[in-house]
């Protein structure tokens, strides 16, 4: 049986407790005194980091970064300059640390021509050491301490971790914009021999609430329906995707998927990245629109329970090789590593219009009083020769701010524009609305959203205004819904800004 409880207050308590624990455990902070080469100036403080080049210390004058070649270090916290090993302490979600991060580090080591060694200390406590392949000398050590996302945030908060592995976004801006390691999704799975392949969202809600106890209620045989896994704060409308990302669900997921795989009459909350032997069900909206947890739908955010996986980092300066690793995370090789690990990568692909037949058919089917044939024709005329990028901007529920993934997507898009991928092209920022309200008003709202994205992109980089890329905001209102508008949950999916790329008209080229 699935059970759910409100855990908002519990989370606060857990974070507070973890903070207390970590504060009491500050054992690695060390005092140092850095003296200038001529001996005239000494700064004392707590060593925050040493990256082989620079000392970063917390002193009476604030946090200072000092060039190691110009100072002499004294004190118990002084690192060995000659035998420097870059270290990064990673705390957080087991589901990310057990496979995805090691594979990324493996890929990085391979690219850099470094050897790799794993040192096991205890369950979920291990290190990956990068070694010079000629000398065997350890040059970097990634220390893992895995448990859950909240522990990662707590460790980052008190500077006991350099990185936090998070299966959901941090509510706040304290840790800055995280990197997206890959995309995952909450899925609802059955055993391979169970013939069910899709479930309506309203039925799913009933199952999660324990209101369906027999497969006969779903048109199946007279057998008990066993639901497994835990969910957090499920309400009538399945309002928030994060509701399904409760730590408990994630932790249990591996066990749940194993049990579901072996039990034909079970249905369970699982993760796309760990399918085990179970089959993920498609989801059906009230008006017949379906949601499938496909890689493409996760990238575009069109699957409602998509779940980006984050890497948050502390503010302290990272050693050079760790910074190189962070740059590696933005490469196509890292995207390959994420896919190899069972996650969906966030690299951009272009979806031609002809591959979007289902969406267009749905747009025609859903067209009614508010959206007429002319609206659809105008939209198709604009997008006919364009390709949709697998990158969508969505806004927080009831707010004008972008959600965390969309914020990260701004950086991704800026990176691709700056590096010339879209030179000579036009990027159409296609705003869409939900179906509430009148058609003209919705087109206006959609256009404003698209314009907001354009402004955010331009604010992100000085290079964009001078680049050879044209950013064109457009508002199509409710013309191409991704979901039914029968619930707030579905309306939120429809409110979005898509990015389409097309060649510039000849006259502008």
């Amino acid at each position: 049986m699935i059970r759910w409880v409100s855990r908002a207050s519990q989370r606060s308590l857990v974070v507070a407790t973890l903070l207390l624990c970590f504060t009491a455990m500050k054992v690695w902070s060390q005092d140092v005194a850095l003296t200038s080469a001529d001996g005239t100036l000494t700064v004392e403080g707590r060593l925050l980091s040493f990256d082989g080049e620079y000392y970063q210390i917390r002193s009476a004058y604030g946090d200072l970064t000092l060039d190691g070649s110009g100072v002499h270090c004294q004190g118990p916290g002084c690192p060995s300059v000659n035998a420097f090993i870059a270290k990064a302490r990673i705390v957080g979600a087991t589901a990310l640390g057990e496979t995805l991060m090691p594979v990324l580090i493996e890929g990085f080591a391979s690219q850099e021509g470094l050897d790799l060694r794993r040192v096991e200390r205890a369950a979920d406590d291990f290190s990956l050491e990068l070694m010079n392949s000629d000398t065997g000398e350890v040059v970097a050590e990634f220390q893992f301490e895995l448990s859950d996302t909240l522990t990662g945030f707590a460790a980052l908060e008190v500077e006991e971790a350099d990185f936090a592995l998070a299966r959901f976004a941090y509510e706040g801006t304290k840790f800055g914009t995280p990197r997206v390691l890959g995309l995952d999704a909450v899925t609802f799975s059955v055993a391979a021999d169970n013939p069910m392949r899709a479930v309506p969202l309203d039925v799913l809600t009933q199952i999660l609430r324990g209101q369906v106890e027999n497969w006969a209620e779903l048109g199946g045989p007279d057998l008990p329906l066993i639901a497994m896994g835990e969910v957090d704060e499920v309400d009538d409308q399945l309002t928030a995707t994060t509701a399904f990302m409760a730590e408990e669900s994630q932790t249990l997921s591996g066990q749940v998927v194993d049990r579901v795989s072996d039990d034909s009459i079970s249905i369970g909350l699982t993760r796309l990245s760990d399918p085990g032997g179970a089959v993920a069900l498609g989801l059906l909206g009230g008006c017949g629109v379906g949601f499938v947890a496909s890689p493409q739908n996760l990238k575009t955010g069109d699957y409602p329970f998509a779940s980006p996986q984050f890497l948050y980092q502390s503010a302290n300066r990272k050693p050079r090789i760790i910074r190189q690793f962070l740059r590696y995370l933005a490469t196509d090789s890292a995207a390959r590593d994420a896919e190899f690990s069972g996650f969906v990568s966030h690299n951009l692909i272009e979806i031609p219009l002809e591959a979007q037949g289902a969406r267009i058919a749905n747009a025609v089917v859903q067209a009614g009083n508010d959206v007429n044939l002319q609206d659809l024709q105008e939209m198709m005329a604009e997008l006919r020769d364009a390709q949709r990028l697998t990158l969508t901007f969505r806004f927080r529920a009831g707010a004008a701010q972008l959600d965390v993934l969309s914020n990260a997507n701004l950086d991704v898009l800026v990176h691709h524009i700056e590096t010339g991928r879209f030179d000579g092209k036009e990027l159409v920022l296609a705003g869409f609305s939900d179906g509430d309200g009148g058609s003209a008003a919705n087109r206006g709202i959609a256009l404003k959203r698209a314009q907001a994205i354009r402004s955010a992109l331009l604010a992100r980089s000085d290079l964009l205004s001078a680049s050879d890329v044209t950013l064109t905001p457009m508002g199509f209102g409710e013309a191409m819904p991704l979901a039914c508008d029968s619930s707030e949950f579905e309306r939120q999916i429809n409110r979005r800004v898509e990015v389409w790329v097309r060649d510039l008209p000849q006259s502008e080229n």
Binding site: T99, S110, V119, S261, R336
Partner: protein, 276 residues
């Protein structure tokens, strides 16, 4: 006359193999195939105690084994069913000798037979496999085997040295009726206490259903290894293609701390096969 000579040869062979000293009358014209008599070298070959048993036949400048066979080492790698490679080695002068075999980051030590023959089947982890052989006398040779079917199999391995009792555990997921349990192979001769041994899990995915295999490594502490630092190599597919071998080191519990098994759940990646 001829009949008598063969009887003599047969008798001498039996005496030789039973470890008895053999003495010949000094007949320079006798073209006898066995090596020249050296009493201290003549012992019966033992699988447990390899010995040098060759002798120079000066008149042909070649080495021959006690069986009268050339000491030349021959090795052959041929593809056989189920993406396996048959390794046949003949080293007549290293009877009962140790051979260290390394292929695709996997390693296993074997002993040759009393006739100096090794005949083993190795799972191919790659379409093209280079098999490296190292013999007790220091000789090293390489042979290459090609088996295109290797791509049809998912194979992971652990390799370790000594008597650590590491074990690769594979737990197939999915309804029992649809399980593909795969196969686990153990390679390496336990009698070579400092040799390398390997366990390889092999499964041929069919992609007609969704299923998976969880992989763990277990190590049983014993009186020889308790309290020690141990290392094994985990060999599996790499994201960037090919194979990756990562040394995994760990500390076994102190002696007297019970005989609980150490389980490492994440050193090998689970296998997942999605229905096409």
């Amino acid at each position: 006359m001829m009949r008598t000579e063969w009887k003599t040869r047969l008798l001498l062979c039996l005496m030789y193999l039973s470890g008895q000293s053999i003495a010949f009358a000094g007949d320079a014209d006798m073209s006898f195939p066995f090596p020249e008599f050296v009493p201290s070298d003549l012992q019966a070959p033992s699988a447990m105690a390899p010995m040098p048993d060759h002798a120079d036949l000066d008149f042909v400048r070649r080495n021959y084994s006690a069986w009268g066979v050339s000491c030349e080492i021959n090795a052959k790698v041929t593809p056989v069913a189920d993406a396996m490679l048959r390794l046949e080695v003949s080293t007549p002068c290293q009877r009962g000798g140790r051979v260290d075999v390394v292929w695709s980051h996997v390693s296993a030590s074997f002993l040759t037979s009393v006739t100096g023959v090794l005949d083993v089947t190795l799972p191919a982890l790659e379409a093209q496999t280079t098999v490296r052989l190292r013999f007790e006398n220091g000789t090293q040779i390489e042979k290459t085997g090609v088996h295109e079917d290797a791509e049809d199999f998912e194979r992971v391995a652990i390799t370790w040295r000594g008597n650590s009792h590491a074990s690769l555990i594979a737990l197939p997921l999915g309804r029992s009726g649809f399980r593909r349990d795969g196969q686990k192979l153990q390679l390496g001769d336990r009698r070579i206490t400092d040799g390398t041994r390997s366990e390889i899990y092999s499964i041929r995915p069919t992609f007609d259903r969704t299923y998976g295999v969880r992989l763990h490594v277990e190590v049983s502490p014993n009186k020889d290894n308790c309290g020690t630092q141990q290392t094994f190599n985990a060999v599996q597919k790499a994201a960037q293609g090919g194979l990756v071998a990562i040394p995994v080191s760990f500390q076994l519990p102190d002696c007297g701390g019970g005989q609980s098994v150490l389980v490492m759940e994440n050193v090998l990646r689970d296998l997942a096969f999605e229905r096409n």
